[in-house]
Every structure is written in structure tokens, then in C-alpha cells.
Subunit: 403 residues, 2 copies
């Protein structure tokens, strides 16, 4: 689409909508001022958005008096009750889902174990369908209230087309998951990489709400990365988004699950810690326990004073610091959020990590703030719902055909 290639990213009215959603109730005048767009243009665009049923006017609580022109001051806000959306996070171990209204209020939540590590696309879609039915009945909503479903999954995902190049939760490659799920479930379904969802959740509901630029690094089964530039998730030009876990921290280094060597993930993800745990705990010749248990046992040894066990975590932290320094050198965000539910962050002391990161980073200008934000899986799912909300709004505004 020419507009996408040559234009300023999302169309202006969607950017106006995104601003209002991100800022909370806000006056037209302030939107115009902050976006550097004329008040007349803002009035036209917001009238369209109110007409489409996605924005509403609220009395402005911050101003008791009337404005100089004599009109009562009003704020614009996203209309909470326009429709509901479901968000689902898939992983090789489990799936988590939430139902939100348009303002981001959580109406219901559900969690289930994964039936097995990887499933056929149809099996995954049917499992998602069941979870969504459960959410709707929990909250007393109708199927017809459902505006869209958002799915977050690990792997290489092209959000715009719904194409999944590869994901550990699917036993087939190159699947048009968005299209297949939309057809099978009868409601618009949009998909994205799971780390992008964390960034979206932070942008919409979390620490990134006030920030124009921030980056999220997730550490759990793999290393994920999402970056927000100018209040928008940055997806790169071919739509597969950004990939930190497979940047090289050591040429010809440790073997990664992706088949390449020296990837950041090969030093840091839970499988990387687990394979060192197996050696350190002298378990290489026995049947090995599951990864979470291996890591727990290594942590216990480290806490009991085993220097070799502690070294495994310190080495992982040092590689994480190097990876974060690459993010700082290349994106220069004001805020860096470290997130992920599975790895225990007690070995990731924020101050130590920040000091190590500073040692690897070029010292010009202010370093970013570093925040460790241990989201539960429900909040990853909330990111998936944020994605669905964005998609449903686009559909509602006629911007995008149902995929």
C-alpha cells in the first residue's frame, strides 16, 4: 500500500485515536497542541471518531469553570462499551486469556495448560475458541459483543498479514494463522509476536503510558524484544518486527535453538541456563528433569554457596547486560523495561545489571531508566487484547477489511 510505504505510518485519524487512548481523557485543544496539528483538523477527525462510536465526550473534571469562549470544557475519551475484545497468549507450556472492554478494563480471565508443546493450527484455533467462549460466559457477554481476538505467540510473526513464519507452538511452518482463525472463529483475529504484546501492554496500560520511546526485553523460554518509537510499536519494514534474541554476542559462540551460534538467547534463555545447570549439577548422564526444575535446583545450589552454580547466573546476567547495551546504543530509549514471568529475577538485581550495562554502553547523554517489571501471563494476554482492541477499532473505522 503506497500510503504505508511513503506516508507517516498510521493514518492521521488512527494516530489521533491512539493518542487519546494512551493519554486518557484529554481536551481537543491539548491533542492539537501535543500533536502539532491545527485545532480545526483535530475537530474534524474527532467528530469522525465520535460518529464511528469509538470516542465519546466527557465533562472535563480538571476545569471547574467554563472556557474563555464560554463553552463548557469537555474531554475526549475512548468509549468503554463499544465492544469487547479477547486476548490470548500462547506458549509451549500453557495458554492464558483475558476479556477487556474498549477502555481496557478486564472483564474475565482464564488459563489452561498447553495440550502439548506444539499443535496443528486447527487444534490451536479450536483451543482458543473454547477459551473465548469461557470468557464470554464468565462475563455474561454475547458472542455478538466480541469485536476481535488478539493472539500472541513466540516466534516469527508478520502482524500485518497474520502470517506465522515459525513458532514453537505450531507444528507447521508458514501458516496464515490470522486468516485461518478469522474464518474458523467467525470474528476478526489478529496475531503478533508475544514480546510485541508486552510492549503494547506497557504502552497502553503500563509503565510506557507516559513515554514516547521505550524498549521491552523479555526473558523466559526465549529472549523477546519490543520497541516503541514515538508512541507506536516499531515493526520494521518487512513487518516481522525486531529481533534481539538472535543478535550475535559472540561469533562462533554457543549453539542456539535457531541453529546459529553466538546468539544472545543461547546464553540467557531458560534452555541455555538449563543446559549449563545439567553440567554443573552433574546430571548429564541421567534422565534430566524439566527445565524449570533444573533452573530451580541450580538456583538452590547457588544460594547454598556453590560458586560454579552462581557463575552460570552471573554469566547470563553479563550477556543480558551486553544485549541491553546494544538496545541502548541503537535505540537510545528513555526507559528500558525488563519483563518476563518464568525466569526468577532474584539473580537479576537491577542495580548490578544497570552497572554492567553501563560498562558496555557508550557514555554520552543520560542512560535510560531500567525497570524490572515481572508481568504475570495474564498481562501478556492483556497485550494480546490491546492488539485486538487496536484491530477492532481499525475495522470499526473502516480502515482495514476484516482479515
Amino acid at each position: 500500500m503506497i500510503t504505508r510505504d511513503l506516508g507517516a505510518g498510521r493514518p492521521l485519524r488512527m494516530r489521533v485515536f491512539d493518542y487519546i487512548r494512551a493519554s486518557g481523557p484529554v481536551s481537543r485543544a491539548r491533542v492539537a497542541q501535543l500533536m502539532g496539528i491545527s485545532p480545526g483538523t483535530i475537530s474534524t477527525i474527532t467528530a469522525e471518531l465520535i460518529e464511528a462510536g469509538v470516542l465519546e465526550e466527557l465533562p472535563d473534571r480538571r476545569k471547574a469553570s467554563v472556557s474563555p469562549r464560554g463553552r463548557p470544557p469537555v474531554s475526549l475519551a475512548v468509549r468503554a462499551d463499544a465492544f469487547v475484545v479477547a486476548g490470548i497468549k500462547l506458549s509451549i507450556r500453557d495458554r492464558t486469556a483475558v476479556l477487556l472492554d474498549c477502555a481496557g478494563n478486564r472483564l474475565a480471565a482464564a488459563q489452561a495448560d498447553a495440550l502439548s508443546g506444539s499443535l496443528t493450527p486447527t487444534e490451536q484455533i479450536d483451543a482458543i475458541g473454547e477459551m473465548v467462549e469461557d470468557l464470554l460466559s464468565q462475563s455474561g457477554r454475547l458472542r455478538s459483543d466480541l469485536g476481535a481476538i488478539g493472539i500472541g505467540l513466540p516466534g516469527f510473526v508478520q502482524h500485518a498479514t497474520g502470517h506465522v513464519h515459525w513458532s514453537p507452538v505450531l507444528n507447521e511452518e508458514r501458516i496464515d494463522l490470522g486468516r485461518l482463525a478469522t474464518e474458523r472463529l467467525g470474528v476478526p483475529v489478529t496475531v503478533d509476536n508475544d514480546a510485541n504484546l508486552v510492549a503494547l501492554a506497557e504502552l497502553w496500560f503500563g509503565l510506557g503510558r507516559e513515554k514516547a520511546d521505550f524498549a521491552v526485553v523479555t526473558v523466559e523460554q526465549g529472549v523477546g524484544f519490543g520497541v516503541v518509537l514515538n508512541h507506536e510499536l516499531f515493526r520494521g519494514s518487512n513487518g516481522f518486527g525486531v529481533e534481539l534474541g538472535h543478535t550475535k554476542v559472540q561469533i562462533d559462540g554457543a549453539l542456539c535453538r535457531c541453529g546459529q551460534r553466538g546468539c544472545l538467547e543461547a546464553y540467557l534463555a531458560d534452555y541455555a541456563i538449563a543446559r549449563e545447570a545439567a553440567v554443573t549439577l552433574k546430571l548429564t548422564e541421567t534422565a534430566q528433569p524439566p527445565i524449570p526444575e533444573l533452573i530451580d535446583r541450580l538456583r538452590t545450589s547457588a544460594d547454598a554457596g556453590d560458586a560454579r552454580a552462581a557463575e552460570v547466573f552471573l554469566r547470563a546476567r553479563r550477556h543480558l547486560a551486553a544485549g541491553l547495551s546494544t538496545v541502548v546504543n541503537l535505540f537510545n530509549p528513555t526507559l528500558l523495561i525488563l519483563s518476563g514471568g518464568r525466569l526468577r529475577y532474584d539473580w537479576l538485581d537491577a542495580e548490578d545489571l544497570l552497572a554492567e550495562m553501563a560498562d558496555f554502553t557508550i557514555k554520552a547523554g543520560d542512560p535510560p531508566a531500567l525497570r524490572i517489571h515481572e508481568w504475570g501471563d495474564q498481562l501478556w494476554a492483556q497485550g494480546a487484547a490491546a492488539l485486538a482492541l487496536s484491530h477492532a477499532t481499525d475495522v470499526e473505522l473502516g480502515l482495514e477489511a476484516v482479515a
Copy 2:
């Protein structure tokens, strides 16, 4: 500035101006369409820009007939004769300067050896002043025609404030070079990192003219990096811009000039090649020739069949490939431009480099095109002039006070 932090980057009228400058003569209707902004808003903005003397109307050559509404079709274009700008590239070996008109036509050029590797700020500014006088007299222009001077230099430069945190061409750190030069030369002076200037030159005059997103990696005395996102140079949030040369490709690896270890630059820049050349050519116990000669001699040995000499270049190429894969993984550009005058690119065969880069890159979606573009120093200076042009236009439009 609030607008900068929360807004969509540059104000709308500057983005409209940038579009027209990048696209060449273009109709109002097409600007409105491509930018996703209403024709009415575009008319208002372009009227302002014409009033300010930076845009002009041209008869549209592509359409012979009148438009359906009966008005003769016109294109908008940047006014070439509004003022002239000078661009200067400083390096530790020499300085190069060009004089451009507003449409980017080159009016004069000059080159001089650096007096010494690093100078005091005042010495550098005076040397720049002399070059600018030379350019003006060469082209028969008056001092009063000069709209701005742009300076490009290696190091850590904060473009918005003109602050140079560190540069090898200055013998003092933390210098407000933009302000000092503006005061001493009596004309607005803007400064930037030299690799950013190459990206700007590609954006305005070169391979990037048709591209929304591309990245430039320069290899010469150091490793430089500039990235254009959505037709704009990306500078990160603290204004010091992006830094690829000091991202880590090997923890605890080769010693870099910056004092850290394992930086990409420490495997790739000319000083890195030269120190391996000294060992390979068994020159470590004698007085060493200058770096360019050392590299030439190593290249000669490699060409004559010396496998150890060839290995030095192959190793550098492999590290460059890893660095480029990081750019592709994190920015996912459609085009990657490799640039730089000093290093000889005969050892950087584009196909071999692309294959090695692909081996280090996650394979999802289309890889970027790779172009090796050996700019001369005059074209780096042209980037500095592009910067001056942008700055002078901002000043002209009252967007920015004279620094």
C-alpha cells in the same frame, strides 16, 4: 520541548517541507494523498511555506492539459535561490567543504589537510571560517547569501543542542561547538555526527531518496551508523543518536579505542586492521608506517597469496557481516547502504558479504537490499550541507531560534 517529547517528531509543516524536498516537484494533491492528510490542511501549510520563501510553484510538466476543475496544474518545489548553505566534513586527516543552493545544487567545493589530528575548538572554527570564505568567493556569492553552515564530525554529537561530548578532531571534551561556531562565524551553525550526514545525503540526494526506511553503515577510521525511519533520520531520545561501532560482538574481546572490549569497531576500523597488519607483516619491533600505508601493504601481501594477510580482511568482513545482521535484526530496513571512502572495498565483495550476513540473520521475510556506495569526502560534506539546509529552513520558518 513538549511537542518534541509527546508529538509526532518534527512539526507537520516541516514534515510537509521534507516530503516535497525529498520527492522533487510534486502536486499538492499527491502530497495530501501520500501523507494521509486532508487537502485543505496541505493547502494551508504550503501557502505558509511559499510565503516564507522556501517553496515555489512550478508548472507541472507531467500533465499537458488542465485539471478537471479547470485550474492549470502546478507542482510545488523547493526554491533553489532562497539562500546558500555550506557543509563541512571534519576528520583527523583532512576537512572537506561544499557550497549548495537550496535545491541541493553544488556551487563550489574545497579540501584541505587537517592542521593536526585534533585542534582546539577555536582553531577548528577558524579553519572552517576560512574554507567558507573560499567557497563564497569561488562561487561569487556574498556572505549575506549564506543561510547556515553544517559541520559533520566523528564522535558523540548531540545534534539538537550542538554539543560535542567527544570527538577525535577536538582536543577538548564536552564542547558546545554549535553555539561557539555560531557566535564566532556570525551565521547559524549546526553540527552532527558524520555517519548521520551520510544518511542525510543518501536521503536527500542519493539511494535513499525513494525509501522510507534505510540504514547506512560507514567503515573508515571508525564504524559509523545512521538510520532513516519513515523518511526521517532517527536520533534516539537523548539526541546522541545511534551507535553501532561500539555494540559488542564479543564479550571481553579485542580492545577498542573507546576503552571497552569486543566492540564491532575493534575488529573492523582501519586502526583494527592496521594493528593486525603490523603483526602479520612482522613490523611490531620497528617504527610503523602510517595506517593507510600499513593497510595497503597488507592488501598487497594478501593479493600476492599470503593467506595470513588475507585472513585479516576475511575476519574483518565476517565481523562486519555480524554487525550488519544486528542492524537487519533490529531495524529491518529495506535497504542497507555500506559507505566510506578510506577503506578499500575490493575485499568487501557485496555478494560474499550478503551471504555471510544472511548466515547471521534470522530468516523471516525478505532480506534488505545491500548496496556498497563509495562516497567521496565531498559527498559527506554534501550531507553536512543538507543538514545546514534543514537548519536554515527551520530558522527561516521561525521554527527554531538561531542557536
